[in-house]
Amino acid sequence: MADVVLDGVEKEYENGFKAVTDLNLTIEDGEFLVMVGPSGCGKSTTLRMIAGLEDITGGKLMIGGNVVNDVEPKDRDIAMVFQNYALYPHMTVGDNIGFALKLAKTPKDELDARVNDAARVLELTELLDRKPGQLSGGQRQRVAMGRAIVRRPKVFLLDEPLSNLDAKLRVQMRAEITELQREVGVTSFYVTHDQIEAMTMADRVAVINRGLLQQVDPPQKLYDDPDNLFVAAFIGSPSMNLMEGQLDRDGGAIALTVGSQTLEVPASVLAARPALEGYFGRTIVAGIRPKELEDASLAGDHPAGQRLRGKIENVEALGFERIVHFEMDAVPVVSEDALELPEDIISAELGGYDDVKSAHPSRVAGRFDAMSTVRPGDMAEVAVSVERIHYFDLDSGLAVRS
C-alpha cells in the first residue's frame, strides 16, 4: 500500500513534442483515481511514466514516499493491466498469472496458493489450464486482472482495460473491477477516454487535456461544479449547452440575455457568486446542462420569465427520456479545446472555431421527460432551472464561482 505523488512531472519527446506539462497529482493510499481525457491528451503517457515504461523528462515521481524516476519497472512494485491484455499466448492461464511470482523465485507451494487465490477471486479456477486463445474477451480481461492482483503490488495501473470489450460486458466488468479494487484496497490509477467509466468507477476523476491537468475531483463535484469550459463540455452526455450571454440588473433580480431571449435569474445566484457582479454589462458564457431543461407543458406553473423558446430540430426517444435538440439564436461557445473532443460530442457539421462562432443559431439539447409529446418542427417551450446555470469567463474559460 502506498500513495503515488506526481510532482511537476513532464514528458517531452525528442522531437520536442510535450505530451505532459507540469503535472501535479497525488493518488492517495488505497484510492481509485481515474484519469480521463480525449485521445492524445497525455493520459496514457502519464500512466506509462508511472509504470516506468516511459522516461520522465521533468519533475519527480514518488511511490510510497520514494522517488522512483530512475527505478526499473520491475522494482517499482507496480502491476499493470494493458488495453489489449498482453497475455503470454503460449502459457496457460495459471502460468500467465504466476509468471511474475515465478520470476521472483517464489517457492512453488506459495506460488500455487497465490495463483489459486487470485483465480478464485476472479472465478478463473476452471480455466487455469487453458491457453489465452481459448478464452473469451471477458475471461482474458480477468486473466489480465489476475496477473496484476497476484503480485499484491503497491499500485495498480490500468490502461483502458475495458475498451476492447463489447458494451454489455463493459458494464459488467466495470462493476467487477470497482468491487475488486475495493476488496483488495490497492492504490489504483486507471486511464480511460470514456467519461462513463470515469464517473462510475472513480473515487476521484482527473480530467486532462493536451497534457495539462484540468481538474481533479470526485465525480459528482466534477459534474456539478466544473472548473472550466473544457471540463464542463467534456463531462456529461449530452454535453453542457454553452452559449454567450449577458447579465444585467433587473430590479431585485438579474436578467440573463441569450440571443434574443431573456431569462430571469433570482438574486440568490448573485448572493452565492458575488463575482458575477463584475460581469454585468459584459459578455459571459452561460452553461446549461440538458437535464436542467424540461418541456414547459410538463413543468406545471414554471414562471414565464424562466423559459426559452426554439424550433425543434430533432427528438431522440430513449424510452426513459427524450433528448430534444432545438435551435436558438444565441451565439454558441465551443472552447478550442473542446473542438478536439470526439466527434460525437461536437457535431461533425461544425467546421472550425470561427465557423462555430459565427454560426447562428446555436443548437441546444434538452433531456425531456418521456411523457413529452414534442415533435421535430414544433416550437419548443422550454422550462429552465435558472438557479443551476453555470457561468464562465469568456476569455479565460474559467468558472465564475466566488
Binding site: 515504461l53 507496480i78 488495453q83 489489449n84 520470476l103 489465452p132 478464452l135 496477473r147
Partner: protein, 321 residues
C-alpha cells in the same frame, strides 16, 4: 448476427451472379487460379514421379523406353541393392552420416546465433543498431561463389598478416587443417546462412506485440528471460520455417561440399557420392534415380515432421482478437 446476415447477403449476391451465360463465364473465371495451381503441381511433380518409377527399372529398359511405358512385371529393386552394396571406398550409409554431420550443425548453429542476434536487433536499443543491421542484411547480396577460394585458403593455411616495414608475420587464424572435413563444410554453410537467418528472424520478432514485452518487463523479466521464455516459444513457426529451408539447402548442396571436402573420400556427403556413382561416361547412370530417392528420403521426413509448426495462429489470444 451481423456475420450470418453478411454471409447470407454474400451468398445471395453470388447466386445472382451465377445466373445466365455471364454467370457461367464468371464461375469459370473464378476457378482459374485453382486450375493454374493444379497445373503447377503437375509440372513440378511429374518428373519426380518419373524418376521414382525409373528407380525400379533395370538399365536396359531405362535406356530403351520412357518411364511411362512401364509394365508391372518389369519392376525390380536391383538398383537399390546395387547402390547399398556398391564397393566404393565410402558406402552410402557412411555418406548419409556425413550428410547429417554437415546438415545438422549447419542448421542448428545459425538458428542459435541468429535468434540472439535478431532479438538484439529487434528489441534492444544500442548505438549503431540500425547501421549494423543494414550491414548484416546487405551481406545477403554477396554470392557464395566469390568466397569459395578465399575460404578454402583459410582452411588450408589459416590467416596470416605480414606487417609492413618491420617485416613480421602475425597469425590471425591458425591453420586448423579443416580441408577435407565436414567441419569445413558446415562452417561455410553457417556463415552464409547467418545474414538471411538474422533478416528472417528479425522481421518476425519485431512484429511480436510490444505490449507483451512491456508486460514481461513489469513482471520482472530481463532481456534474457524475455528472449528465453517469451520470444523463442513464440518464434517457433519462423524457426521451423528457416530450419526446413536451411536443412534442405545444406543437405542437397554439392558445390561447397565438393570444394571443401571433395578431396577426402571419407568425408563426402551423399550428393557427391551419388555423382561419383554414375562413374566415368555415365556407365552406371541407371543407378541415379534410386540413389536420388535415398538422398531425398531424409528431407521428406524433416519437412513433414516440421510442417505442423507452420500452423497459423500461434499468437492467438495474446492480444485483442
Amino acid at each position: 448476427m451481423s456475420d450470418t446476415t453478411l454471409t447470407r447477403q454474400a451468398a445471395t449476391a453470388r447466386a445472382a451472379e451465377r445466373q445466365g451465360v455471364g454467370g457461367v463465364i464468371y464461375g469459370f473465371l473464378r476457378n482459374i487460379p485453382t486450375w493454374v495451381l493444379w497445373l503447377i503441381v503437375m509440372v513440378w511433380s511429374l518428373p519426380t514421379v518419373g524418376l521414382f518409377v525409373n528407380s525400379f527399372r533395370d538399365r536396359d529398359s531405362q535406356r530403351a523406353t520412357g518411364w511411362w511405358s512401364i509394365r508391372p512385371g518389369d519392376l525390380t529393386i536391383d538398383n537399390y541393392d546395387e547402390i547399398f552394396s556398391a564397393s566404393a571406398s565410402t558406402s552410402l550409409g557412411d555418406s548419409l552420416l556425413n550428410s547429417m554431420s554437415i546438415a545438422i550443425p549447419a542448421t542448428l548453429i545459425p538458428i542459435a546465433v541468429a535468434a540472439f542476434a535478431a532479438y538484439g536487433f529487434a528489441w534492444i536499443d544500442f548505438p549503431g543498431r540500425k547501421w549494423l543491421f543494414i550491414g548484416t542484411v546487405s551481406l545477403l547480396a554477396i554470392p557464395l561463389q566469390v568466397a569459395l577460394i578465399p575460404l578454402l585458403q583459410l582452411y588450408v593455411g589459416g590467416a596470416h598478416l605480414t606487417l609492413p616495414f618491420i617485416d613480421k608475420t602475425v597469425t590471425i587464424i591458425p591453420d586448423f587443417d579443416l580441408v577435407g572435413t565436414t567441419t569445413a563444410v558446415w562452417l561455410t554453410h553457417t556463415g552464409f546462412a547467418l545474414p538471411f537467418a538474422i533478416f528472417l528472424l528479425h522481421n518476425y520478432m519485431s512484429q511480436l506485440p510490444k505490449d507483451l514485452f512491456e508486460a514481461a518487463r513489469i513482471d520482472g523479466a530481463d532481456h534474457f528471460t524475455i528472449f528465453w521464455r517469451l520470444v523463442l516459444p513464440l518464434s517457433v513457426p519462423v524457426l521451423a520455417a528457416f530450419a526446413i529451408f536451411q536443412f534442405l539447402w545444406t543437405w542437397n548442396d554439392f558445390l561447397i561440399a565438393n570444394t571443401m571436402a571433395g578431396t577426402n573420400p571419407d568425408a563426402i556427403p551423399t550428393t557427391i557420392l551419388i555423382a561419383n556413382l554414375a562413374g566415368d561416361f555415365g556407365r552406371n547412370e541407371h543407378l541415379l534415380p534410386a540413389a536420388g530417392f535415398v538422398q531425398a528420403f531424409v528431407p521428406l521426413v524433416v519437412f513433414f515432421s516440421l510442417q505442423r509448426y507452420f500452423v497459423r495462429g500461434i499468437l492467438a489470444g495474446s492480444v485483442k482478437g
